[in-house]
């Protein structure tokens, strides 16, 4: 018996360790270092094109219902300028004073801005289960706190009602079974189902940019056309709008005394006449002939609306920008903890040069795998040339040789392979 207990305990400890390690590995956020890499554009624009004019007069705004055209064009100009490949400005028109077509080739961006939004209101129905007793209250309170679930109270003893069926209420079911097994039927509280209605409001915003990139000079040529869009959607359910409209105990109370006398369970009981839940039928029609309104201040606070639109515009412009201009991208890579140099924290703080110096001060034969990897990361994060990437690759391979089977080090090698392939294209696009 004792032996068996020891075996059982060992198993449990083993199982606990596995579960704990799985949970820990899933929950612990890795130590990440962020750095910027430059990536090539999808098409290579001729090098002589350095000036770009965004022609506001040639950007159609007929379907710009949110009135964001100016914001879109300015954001496009700002982002393109930040990448440094072009000098971009938004202009109302273009004439001979802004450039000399005999001497230089410039590009113009024209197109269309489409935007819109909707506020969709309505009423929905759901079924809920109302439970009483301590367990009902505890599970309801817990659920409400954790899942932001809507709770209503029925008129009968103030039982709490939550979305779902009898079978779905696991906590109550387990307690009922336990009480039943213990012969404590009196302790099991009654429960009933209820039809509820509630109001909701859906808010959506949409932005699309259709742009073309045209080179002009001695000749005119369209080099790129793209259409990209982005959308935002939010559902707001007003918890105070939940109302119980038909509770089954109201009917069962009437029939309960009859059934107790006959002691014959009847299932199911058709009760159409008195059960017509007419309140669940919304009288109001939510789609009018004019369609849906655009979200206003009461639907989305101005500050938040501005932020959302900024995100939408950024997303809608992203692919067009990446088509015509080399761009910078933030990359996250995990930092190796430990090693002789203990340079992990420096990398996380973005001090790549300092990390590089500290690691390089350690003789190569004394460097541990973490040092090699972090050195690779320092080179990768501060890369200015193909040689830096090649060095980073070499250091990652050294780390892998020192500590075979480490996924982190292999990921470094894989990343550099991709960058080196892109670097050749990038060099063609950015060489002066």
């Amino acid at each position: 018996m004792k032996k068996l207990n020891i075996t059982q305990k060992t198993y449990f400890v083993f199982l606990f360790c596995i579960c704990a390690s799985v949970l820990l590995s899933a929950c612990i956020r890795p130590n990440l270092s962020q750095f910027e890499v430059q990536r090539p554009s999808r098409i290579t624009i001729p090098r002589e094109v350095k000036k770009v004019f965004i022609r506001a007069d040639l950007v159609d705004e007929t379907n710009d219902k949110l009135g964001i055209k100016i914001q879109v064009l300015q954001q496009l100009a700002d982002e393109l300028n930040s990448y440094g490949r072009f000098k971009v400005s938004v202009v109302d028109t273009l004439d001979g004073s802004q450039f000399d077509p005999e001497k230089e080739s410039v590009a113009i961006i024209q197109g269309e801005v489409i935007s819109g939004g909707e506020v969709d209101r309505g009423q929905f129905t759901d079924l809920a289960t109302c439970t009483g007793g301590i367990s009902g209250r505890l599970s309801s309170a817990g659920a409400a706190a954790i899942t932001n679930e809507a709770i209503t109270l029925d008129k009968w003893r103030g039982y709490v009602c939550r979305r779902g069926t009898f079978a779905g209420n696991a906590a109550e079911l387990v307690l009922s079974s336990a009480f039943s097994l213990a012969g404590l039927n009196d302790a099991i509280p009654p429960k009933n189902q209820v039809v509820r209605i509630y109001d909701y409001k859906n808010i959506s915003l949409f932005a699309q940019g259709n742009f073309s990139f045209n080179m002009i000079g001695l000749s005119r040529e369209t080099l790129a056309i793209r259409a990209d869009s982005s959308s935002f959607g939010r559902t707001i359910t007003d918890k105070d709008s939940y109302r119980n409209i038909k509770e089954s105990h109201l009917i069962s109370l009437t029939l309960g005394s009859l059934l107790s006398i006959t002691r014959i369970p009847i299932f199911p009981i058709p009760n159409r006449q008195i059960a017509l839940a007419s309140l669940s039928n919304p009288k109001q029609i939510f789609y009018g002939p004019k369609g849906l309104a655009i979200p206003n201040i009461s639907d989305l606070p101005p500050k938040e609306k501005r932020q959302v639109i900024q995100q939408l515009v950024k997303r809608a412009l992203e692919s067009f920008i990446r088509t015509i201009s080399p761009y910078k991208q933030m990359v996250e890579a995990e930092v190796a903890e430990g090693g002789k140099a203990k340079a992990g924290n420096l990398l996380k703080e973005g001090k790549t040069q300092k990390a590089r110096k500290i690691i390089e001060a350690i003789p190569t034969e004394k460097r541990e795998s973490q040092d090699w990897y972090n050195l690779g990361l320092a080179y990768e994060a501060g890369a200015l040339s193909t040689e830096d990437y090649e060095d980073a690759r070499r250091f990652y391979i050294s780390a892998l040789e020192k500590s075979p089977g480490t996924r982190l080090y292999a990921q470094g090698v894989g990343r550099i392979r991709r960058y080196l392939a892109e670097t050749k294209i990038l060099a063609r696009q950015t060489q002066k």
Partner: protein, 383 residues
């Protein structure tokens, strides 16, 4: 009881081991492979995109209460219709420019033509001025989108349970029929898109396709109501954007998409099918990695570090030719497009263990690619 406990514990342990094995065994290599065009477009390098004519466009709101339906059509101005047509055209261009196969020539000359008849006439008399264009792609679209605000009616059994109060009592467990109204909102859109590719010299319609896509989504209503959306398989064929997850924009599955978004998704889906027919396309696939004896191979392949994996696997297999390492080496050759070496290496692995399905699959893949390859090579060499 003791035996029972032991049995349960052993079962649990076994299940954990199997789960751990499955988790560790699901490593896959992600490869980008090229597929040849379905129809012969070898001599077509430069493609212009003409206009997309509007066949019919209907947008409407439908409402229903107590069986009475009302429809409110949304009238679109000519400019709005043109804008939708331009958006569909631009989505087709998005995909065409994502393939390495065609050079898209952007010319207003073909876009301005009123319809296909005008294009065919211009092409037949060679009246176009744009130079260096081998073919023109144009299209026609039919669109119908409706939003519904309706109410379903169903009979629901509301349950009531009361435990017995004493040993002589039977308690209550009733189901009471209730008629319940379930309001819902839905959107449904159908896009019919005809896309045609016309070669200029000799004048010939090389490819034409007419496809429809339907999108429908429903919110509210009785729980468990199904809704369908268009298949998004096209995104795996031509991934056009690697949007960063950091700047994710809030979205909700309970919000019906805007008309513009539905049109964009459906147009992209149809266009991807057309592009697959006429152009060499790239697609991203995942293949399993074998559990070889060389510890770094699996993680290097997973990370996409194929060159280093090849170096190290070649050394490892020269000393000890484990068939799993050979398979992984073949996978690396396949990933970098060296199908000849991939075939030889897979074959070597398969010869050592002919029963191994993984090795046979590798071999089969390469043979299929090699069958397609002459066509692919011819298509790529003609660029």
């Amino acid at each position: 009881m003791k035996l029972f406990n032991n049995y349960i514990l052993n079962k649990l342990f076994l299940m954990l081991l199997i789960s751990a094995f499955l988790i560790s065994g699901c490593a896959k290599a992600t490869l980008t492979i090229r597929s040849p065009a379905e129809i012969n477009t070898r001599k077509i390098k430069n493609v212009a995109v003409g206009g997309f004519e509007i066949g019919q466009m209907m947008l409407k709101f439908k409402t229903e209460r107590n069986g009475v339906w009302q429809t409110h059509p949304v009238l679109l101005s000519e400019e709005q219709q043109k804008s939708i047509s331009r958006s569909v055209r631009a989505r087709v261009i998005n995909l065409l420019t994502a393939t390495p196969y065609f050079k898209v020539i952007f010319s207003d000359e073909f876009e301005k033509l009123a319809n296909d008849a005008a294009l065919q006439q211009l092409v037949s008399v060679r009246g176009y001025k744009t130079k260096n264009v081998d073919a023109v792609i144009n299209g026609k679209l039919w669109l119908e989108i409706e939003r519904t605000d309706g109410v379903d009616l169903s009979k629901e059994g509301l349950e009531y349970f009361r435990p017995p109060r004493s040993r002589n009592s039977i308690g209550l467990n009733l189901t009471v029929d209730q008629v319940v109204w379930w309001p819902y909102k839905s959107t449904r859109g159908t896009l019919g898109l005809e896309i045609k590719m016309t070669r200029l010299l000799p004048t010939e319609v090389v490819a034409t396709t007419f496809e429809t896509r339907t999108y429908s989504q429903r919110i509210g209503g009785r729980n468990g109501e199904s809704f369908q959306q268009i298949a998004d398989s096209f995104t795996s064929v031509l991934s056009t954007s690697d949007t960063s997850k950091i700047d994710s924009i809030e979205s909700s599955a309970d919000v019906l998409p805007s008309f513009e978004q539905i049109i964009a998704d459906m147009a992209l889906s149809i266009a991807s099918g057309f592009v697959r027919r006429v152009a060499v396309t790239e697609k991203v696939v995942s293949y399993p990695i074998a559990e070889g004896s060389f510890p770094n191979a699996k993680i290097l392949i997973e990370a996409g570090a194929y060159d280093v994996a090849i170096d190290q696997l070649q050394q490892a297999t020269a000393e000890n030719s484990d068939p799993n390492d050979l398979y992984n080496l073949g996978l690396c050759f396949e990933a970098i497009g060296d199908y000849g070496l991939a075939h030889t290496t897979y074959r070597e692995a398969w010869k050592t263990d002919p029963e191994n399905l993984l090795f046979a699959q590798g071999l089969g893949r390469i043979e299929r690619l090699r069958r397609e390859n002459p066509q692919l090579q011819r298509q790529l060499e003609s660029r």
